[in-house]
Subunit: 256 residues, 2 copies
């Protein structure tokens, strides 16, 4: 999840360009990133960010250890790109690389998931583990409005269900429609469970399991290209929509 | 440098789809990559390739050691993505992941360069070193036609000059126009030399130093976004063209 500078911060920078590199040459609105796990699709993008632009990177300790162990990430100048540990189940105020508050609070909660694929041979473990994967609750401090962001989740544990209950908005892992989808489509050898994802459909799927949590708005993200819900005319898309879910799309804007 | 399957290989695959994953689901024409150094812009793209598609990766030993030391690259399944050492100054026949010859020969030659930025603190060395950066001569075996690919080079050594002499085509490091360009434009603190690149202009620049080598066609690649030759109406662009050089562009096709 990338952090953009708030309008307030933009105003501060306009008044004092020395505060921040957002003005002038090589402008970028990105002031930071929160890493919710260590899988390639969550961390490889760091290597495409500007090497010498101040940034704040927030991640749980297991993911910070991965960045530390892979020196290739040192291409982001560690003097300017601050790596900050994200505590679990304790909200913190997000700050930009210059330590200025961004007006947002985030709480990270470990969710059932798995160690990244490329670390399996190192850790000798599969399945769930504390903090390899987290969900995020992001709150605008001024208004108290918040949303949840859970791009990877292999199971709706009771603790996670309690955390999400009565949320105004949840973005949730929509990788697969069925657990055996990669196998039956011939695109892979692993089940969704083996990859750390619960499926949308079925009795233990996300549609069924999140149905009674009183969540006002539910949006699937992190959708694999085998997932039939991506086809607008598919019966699966209709089923998802009938169940009160939305499918995220590029350029989607949401006002809470 | 990415390797595409040749028409011959395509024909073989059409006749025997089991040979190769190029037919069917998730088709990709990419059968391999040659890594000419370990800088981020040369290796980060590996993380965007399909994780379970057979590929052949060729690199000199210093770059293979970097892949080995950074486990994040294990996301490319090492059972299917073959890492092969590229010898120096000895031509080898390129083979696809299935060991079928691609009809191309490559010779790697160490060129003056530098260790990747993120490795400087590890190796405690800067400046040139053998094999951190290589140039490539690629030859079509059937015709003997060849070209040179040298995307990074900090100095035209006598050995490199001899190697490139009378080439039909050279792609060459066009990062900067002037050595102090990053500094004077306010985009960076390092000289071109410090980054492992010789500049286009000046008495020790690539235009002057490659002028008398009898090279038939010269094309600048790896051009930084500070380089004024990118502007078609700039005096620097005119100077480059007057000196017999071309500026590479997206979608450029070349027949030898």
């Amino acid at each position: 999840m990338l952090l953009n500078a708030s309008p307030d911060l933009r105003q501060q920078i306009t008044e004092n360009p020395a505060l921040h590199p957002k003005i002038g040459l090589r402008h970028s609105p990105i002031v930071g990133a929160i890493l919710s796990n260590g899988d390639i699709d969550h961390i490889a993008g760091l290597l495409s960010l500007r090497e010498s632009q101040p940034l704040a990177i927030y991640a749980g300790n297991p993911v910070l250890e991965i960045l530390q162990a892979n020196r290739v990430f040192n291409v982001l100048d560690v003097q300017k790109v601050h790596r900050r540990e994200l505590p679990f189940r304790r909200p913190i105020s997000l700050r930009g690389p210059d330590d200025a508050p961004l007006g947002l609070e985030v709480e990270a909660s470990p969710v059932p998931g798995k160690v990244p694929l490329y670390m399996e041979s190192v850790t000798q473990r599969l399945g769930t583990s504390a903090g390899d994967t987290v969900g995020l609750r992001v709150t605008e401090i001024a208004t108290g409005v918040s949303f949840y962001y859970v791009p990877g989740c292999s199971e709706l544990s009771p603790a996670l269900a309690d955390w999400l209950r009565n949320a105004a908005l949840v973005f949730f892992d929509g990788t697969l429609w069925r657990d055996d989808e990669m196998i039956s489509s011939g695109t892979g050898a692993k089940t969704g469970q083996r990859m750390g994802h619960m499926s949308m459909s079925g009795g233990t799927g996300s549609i069924a399991r999140l149905a009674s949590l009183g969540i006002r708005r539910k949006i699937f993200i992190h959708i694999n290209n085998t997932n039939p819900v991506l086809a607008e005319d598919s019966p699966e898309r209709s089923a998802v929509q009938s169940a009160g879910w939305e499918i995220a799309r590029d350029g989607m804007e949401i006002n809470l």
